[in-house]
């Protein structure tokens, strides 16, 4: 993934007998140090590629990228709860659905599109605040089961409360909000908006996990009793993590219905819940960027691979097993390990000339 991996063989071949001592090592060192500095530019190029895909006319490719971004938001926010506080939720797609249904139902009842967005987000937040009181009372397997139940209840409501949700058919959304020159009905503006919201959420989550609050969540996962003995009201910290995570799932839901212009119970099904958890675990628990990467891979599998292979789930399952077996830190763990290998290599190469200089 990073330059560190590619540089491996170069550095290993450096002490070859033909080469003048240190020359190839110096070359490798320059390259490796450069790669350290160029990680950010490489990331920028990756973002540029996303932009190009979004901007170009091919609506299939841009929808694919938009789907990735929407699910990346849901997966990253689940990671705050699962990867940091150690609370794996199986109801994340349910809250994505609440956000989306909130917008759709409000619009059906003749609210203006902007008011509908407010209602969608407000409904998710209110539900998160209320259900959190119950959910974060428990930890571990009990938490997984409670969130599973919450997710299934939400799905059941969407499926069976036909008067409100129109049941299996789902609710289409015809008009998207617009303000001044920003008209989300224009595909290009919509794509850019999704990208900007993704960037903002990613930025907020990264700030959050590096804050004292983020540190306290890792403390909750590592040793909650000790954290309480250090003056932390640990229940409050878990509750806040839950509310933030649920709210961002609602944000993903609002974007979901903008992109798809339809919300049906399928988006909240158990398999949708599971898929978001898989994105997080595959990408790497406790890394924020990892789950985004996981979302990219899973959406690609789901939408791209499925056109070539009927048994794409088998491939996904095998990939999942391989990653969990060989890189417990997920895909992001591979990226991190490569970075560490690069740093170790740099340190080794730097130490070498110094040793030669010694008498």
């Amino acid at each position: 993934m990073t330059a560190g991996e590619k540089a491996g063989p170069v550095a290993l071949s450096s002490p070859g007998p033909a080469a003048p001592p240190g020359r190839r090592a110096r070359l490798a060192l320059t390259f490796l140090r450069g790669s350290r500095r160029f990680t950010a530019p490489v990331a920028v190029v990756a973002v540029a590629v996303v932009l190009v895909l979004l901007l170009q006319g091919n609506s299939f490719a841009s929808t694919l990228v938009l789907d990735m971004l929407v699910y990346a938001i849901a997966a990253m926010s689940l990671d705050l709860l699962g990867g940091y506080a150690g609370l794996i939720s199986l109801g994340q797609a349910g809250f994505l659905g609440v956000g989306a249904y909130g917008v759709a139902i409000a619009e059906v009842h003749f609210f203006s599109p902007w008011a509908a967005v407010g209602i969608g987000l407000g409904a998710t937040l209110a539900l998160g605040l209320a259900l959190g009181i119950v959910a974060v009372r428990v930890k571990g397997v009990s938490f997984v089961i409670i969130t599973l139940a919450i997710g299934q209840i939400l799905w059941g409501l969407a499926f069976q409360w036909v008067g409100l949700s129109e049941g299996d058919n789902g609710i289409p959304l015809s008009v998207l909000p617009s303000i001044g020159p920003i008209d989300l009905n224009d595909p290009l503006t919509l794509r850019m908006t999704v990208l900007v919201v993704f960037a903002v959420v990613a930025f907020l989550l990264v700030m959050l996990v590096h804050s004292p609050f983020g540190l306290s969540l890792r403390g909750v996962r590592s040793n909650e009793t000790r954290l309480a003995a250090l003056g932390y009201r640990t229940g409050l910290h878990r509750y806040l993590a839950w509310v933030i995570s649920v709210f961002f799932a609602g944000v993903a839901g609002v974007l979901y219905i903008f992109v798809n212009q339809l919300i049906s119970p399928d988006a909240m099904s158990f398999s949708a819940d599971g898929l978001i958890v898989i994105m997080v675990v595959l990408g790497g628990l406790g890394s924020i960027w990892g789950p985004a990467l996981g979302a990219v891979v899973i959406v690609l599998f789901q939408q791209e691979l499925s056109t070539y292979l009927t048994r794409w789930q088998t491939v996904m399952g095998l990939t999942m097993i391989a990653v969990v077996l060989f890189s417990p830190g997920g895909l992001w763990g591979i990226v991190r390990a490569a970075g560490r290998r690069r740093d170790a290599l740099i340190a080794r190469l730097e130490a070498r000339p110094a040793r030669r200089d010694m008498p």
Binding site: L204, M207, L208, H210, S211, P212, F213, G214, L215, S216, R218, G219, R221, S222, N223, T225, R226, L227, A228, A229, L230, G231, Y232, R233, T234, L236, H237, L240
Partner: protein, 313 residues
């Protein structure tokens, strides 16, 4: 590499001063004979920690039965007793991890019986755990920073990186350095040696600058050399810190505490100065003979007013 190798007996390092809030404090207070609060002060100044008739039952099993303690401010107080005597249960009652079935706990005269652990910590009651409870997924620096944020509003700060709290991270580094963990700041806590882990455990509690510190067997499982380190750490603590320490090895307590209580089968056998305790017949029976259980059952626990806590003349 590890603390045990670095700091053997007599290397001089362990006697560094602790992270005393007042750097000018003389270290090593607390041996018998040093000035404690005058005996008459008990009437006016409230005790640092007072337990009144504490009891706790676990489904019919009585772990702690009617234990009353009175610990003067600044005292070094030991809680001694064989395995299963109810020492840790007593600590959990004092720190709030467990609610008592009956009785009450007061900190500096304030009733804290109904307060949750984090509220007691805010009032100045710190504790360590017998089974080490550090944040093993975090680095030493992260462990200590987390502890330092514990009593600050900044623990709920959401959008400012914890590394940007320079005063906190500097204090964490200083704290680590004062007990020989300076080189290990960026090491994962799970990579520490057992001795270092026990030190970190104490440091986490000290980071909050408690007024009363409950230490649950700080020397458990340590090698003799590491025991000396921990003992040095404990004797270097600030003099105004009230220390209450569980230990089943009386030898570790000797030289650290001035008074102690002996528990057996959940009841208080005797409470008094270390000299009294070592000369007490019931305690000798407990540790030497098998008749201790009967003796403990029949001996009436001394009331909170009987022994002197704050050092002896």
């Amino acid at each position: 590499m590890t603390a045990g190798q670095d700091r053997g007996v007599g290397s001089g390092q362990p006697s560094r001063p602790g992270p005393s809030p007042e750097p000018g404090q003389p270290a090593g207070r607390g041996r018998p004979g040093e000035p404690g609060p005058p005996a008459g002060a008990r009437g006016q100044a409230p005790p640092a920690l007072e337990a009144s008739h504490l009891s706790r039952n676990f489904r019919g099993l009585t772990a702690v039965a009617d234990v009353s303690l009175w610990v003067a401010p600044g005292a070094r107080f030991g809680v001694i007793g064989p395995n299963g005597a109810g020492k840790t249960t007593l600590f959990n009652l004092l720190s709030g991890e467990l609610r008592p079935t009956a009785g009450s706990v007061a900190l500096f005269g304030r009733d804290i019986t109904g307060l949750r652990p984090y509220r007691r910590v805010a009032l100045g009651l710190g504790r360590t755990f017998q089974i080490t409870r550090i944040f093993s997924d975090l680095t030493v620096l992260e462990n200590l920073t987390l502890a330092l944020h514990g009593l600050s509003r900044s623990k709920l700060s959401l959008l400012r990186p914890w590394r940007s709290y320079r005063a906190m991270t500097a204090e964490a580094a200083e704290l680590a350095a004062s007990f020989g963990l300076a080189e290990r700041l960026d090491a994962a806590a799970s990579a520490l040696s057992h001795g270092e882990v026990r030190e970190l455990e104490v440091l986490l509690a000290l980071a909050l600058k408690p007024k009363v510190l409950l230490l649950d067997e700080p020397a458990a499982g340590l090698s003799p050399a590491e025991r000396v380190d921990i003992q040095a750490l404990l004797t270097s603590l600030p003099a105004d810190l009230t220390l209450i320490m569980i230990e089943h090895d009386i030898d570790v307590l000797r030289g650290v505490v001035d008074s102690a209580a002996v528990l057996h089968l959940g009841t208080l056998v005797v409470q008094g100065s270390m000299r009294d305790i070592q000369n007490d017949e019931r305690v000798r029976e407990l540790y030497l003979g098998g008749a201790g259980s009967r003796a403990a059952g029949t001996s009436p626990p001394p009331g909170p007013a009987s022994p002197e806590m704050g050092g002896r003349p």
